[in-house]
């Protein structure tokens, strides 16, 4: 079977965009979950894990039901579905990576006068980069894989 070129390009574009959005939002969320105390932290963490456990076609089906009713099924709604599917994976992996860092590195950086952003960008992110990069690759692959299911379900949506 020959896959039309436009479909491959669409899949890569959607997967790349949704992974990019997931990385920015997911790593920020993971850092917040790993470093901050706030009401609803456990619920948010639980939600991220639950979304990870949900079978991909079911997630896509529900998403497309919701998104498809509000907006017409466009590339952006596919990206939204991709973000929801990639985000839990990224949040989970990044949170574990950031939590496993020795807190002394962050403390040392802050006592040396570094701002929260600088500590994150210069110290925490480089130290946790490998597991986060692995999670990004996995998330990209997951979105790409689920896109087929999403498009297939979209064709037969209620």
């Amino acid at each position: 079977m020959i896959v039309p070129r436009y479909l491959l390009w669409l899949a890569l574009r959607v997967a790349g965009l949704s992974t990019g959005i997931s990385v920015v939002v997911g790593v920020w969320l993971a850092w917040t979950l790993a470093n901050r105390e706030f009401a609803g932290k456990r619920a948010l963490g639980g939600l991220a894990t639950a979304a990870l456990a949900l079978p991909a076609p079911v997630l896509c089906y529900y998403l497309l039901c919701v998104v498809g009713r509000v907006w017409p099924l466009t590339e952006m709604s596919l990206v939204a579905a991709g973000v929801v599917s990639a985000m839990p994976l990224l949040v989970r992996a990044s949170r574990t990576a950031l939590e496993s860092l020795d807190p002394n590195f962050g403390r040392a950086a802050r006592s040396l006068g570094a701002s929260g952003w600088r500590v994150f960008l210069r110290v925490e992110l480089p130290l946790a980069l490998r597991p986060i990069a692995a999670a990004i690759a996995l998330a990209f692959a997951r979105v790409l894989g689920e896109l087929a299911a999403a498009i297939w379900i979209a064709e037969r949506r209620p």
Binding site: N104, R107, A108, G113, L127
Partner: protein, 342 residues
């Protein structure tokens, strides 16, 4: 003025309640594990928020529970050297030094980094990453990194610190230094003041030599590692001759006059093991000599510790022990000036 008063409850049982006026120079925090030494440093650095208290550094309020002021760690100007040096592993030692110097203009930054590299002998290893450098180089780099940020207070939670390095730090930094240590030799050699902590409370403070010579209670004497602690009663007191007679059941000793006590009082007496003289028997006429049996020998780095019957410990030099080790009968001499009544 630099002054800290802090109270912190850590459930279920630990509570910290201390007041530390920090003068320029080295203040050593000494105490057993779990006494709250590291917690004090973490509170001063701003990593842990106390329940109540007030922290002033150079007349600037860093923390005040009443007015709910708590300055962020990065604005406190406290150099913090953690138990593990916490050098950033993905940077070279030079990059570690550049990290806190970012706020200086480029030329000034290079000058400061170069100066620290030279001062702490890091030129050979500046291009290495921390895991490639030796422990001593890493420690020197951690110190240089803390100093490059121009702190107003230096907090050192490093057990590997030695007297020469501390002297180097003192030449580079004139402000107050708070040092956590379990090394009494280091306290005596380099600290200006010593604070003895136990279970979150300051139990004694003062010049290190004075604290070691005059522990105020038997608990502190135990904390300071004084092995000879005897409970006895005062059998006689003679202020005119500045002498007293102390009865310990198995033996009796003559000591200096003990002011503030009466005959018959029960007292604890501490004697440093290095102040005792152990030798073969045959000096019956010597005052304060006690005949004892040798029950154990423990070889230390610079001396040999002998354990005698009656819970008496004496330190002798290795040469002295080599000469006398075949003794069958021993005598331990207690110089009257070595007896410390607690």
């Amino acid at each position: 003025m630099t002054h800290a008063r802090m109270v912190k409850q850590i459930p279920p049982r630990f509570s910290l309640d201390v007041e530390i006026p920090l003068a320029a120079g080295v203040t050593a925090l000494y105490g057993p594990a779990g006494a709250g030494k590291t917690l004090i440093l973490e509170i001063l650095a701003g990593f842990v928020r106390p329940d109540s208290g007030r922290i002033l550094l150079d007349d600037v309020i860093l923390f005040d529970a009443q007015s709910r002021v708590s300055v962020a760690p990065r604005r406190r100007n406290c150099g913090y050297i953690a138990q593990h040096d916490a050098l950033f592993p993905h940077m070279t030692l030079r990059q570690n030094l550049v990290f806190p110097a970012r706020r200086f203009p480029r030329l000034e930054r290079h000058r400061r980094v170069g100066e620290m590299i030279e001062r702490f002998q890091l030129a050979d290893c500046a291009a290495l990453r921390p895991h490639e450098a030796g422990p001593a180089q890493r420690l020197r780099c951690a110190v240089a990194r803390a100093l490059i940020a121009v702190p107003k207070l230096l907090l050192i939670d490093q057990r590997a610190f030695d007297a020469p390095l501390l002297e180097q730090v003192r030449t580079a930094f004139a402000g107050p230094i708070l040092l956590v240590t379990g090394d009494l030799d280091l306290c005596c050699a380099a600290a200006d003041e010593m604070i003895v902590l136990e279970a979150g409370r300051i139990v004694q403070r003062g010049a290190p030599r004075a604290v070691l010579d005059r522990p105020v209670s038997v608990e502190i004497a135990r904390l300071l590692g004084i092995p000879n602690l005897f409970r006895g009663t005062i059998a006689a007191l003679d202020p005119a001759r500045d002498s007293s007679r102390l009865d310990f059941g198995e033996f009796a000793l003559t000591g200096p006059y003990i002011p503030g006590h009466f005959r018959g009082d029960s007292v604890w007496v501490a004697v440093h093991s290095e102040d005792l003289r152990a030798h073969s028997s045959g000096l019956e006429s010597q005052p304060n000599c006690v005949s004892v049996q040798l029950v154990g020998v423990s070889h230390r780095a610079r001396f040999v510790r002998l354990e005698f019957s009656g819970g008496i410990f004496a330190d002798v030099s290795r040469e002295e022990f080599a000469r006398e080790k075949d003794n069958k009968e021993w005598q331990v001499e207690f110089p009257p000036s070595a007896l410390r009544v607690l």
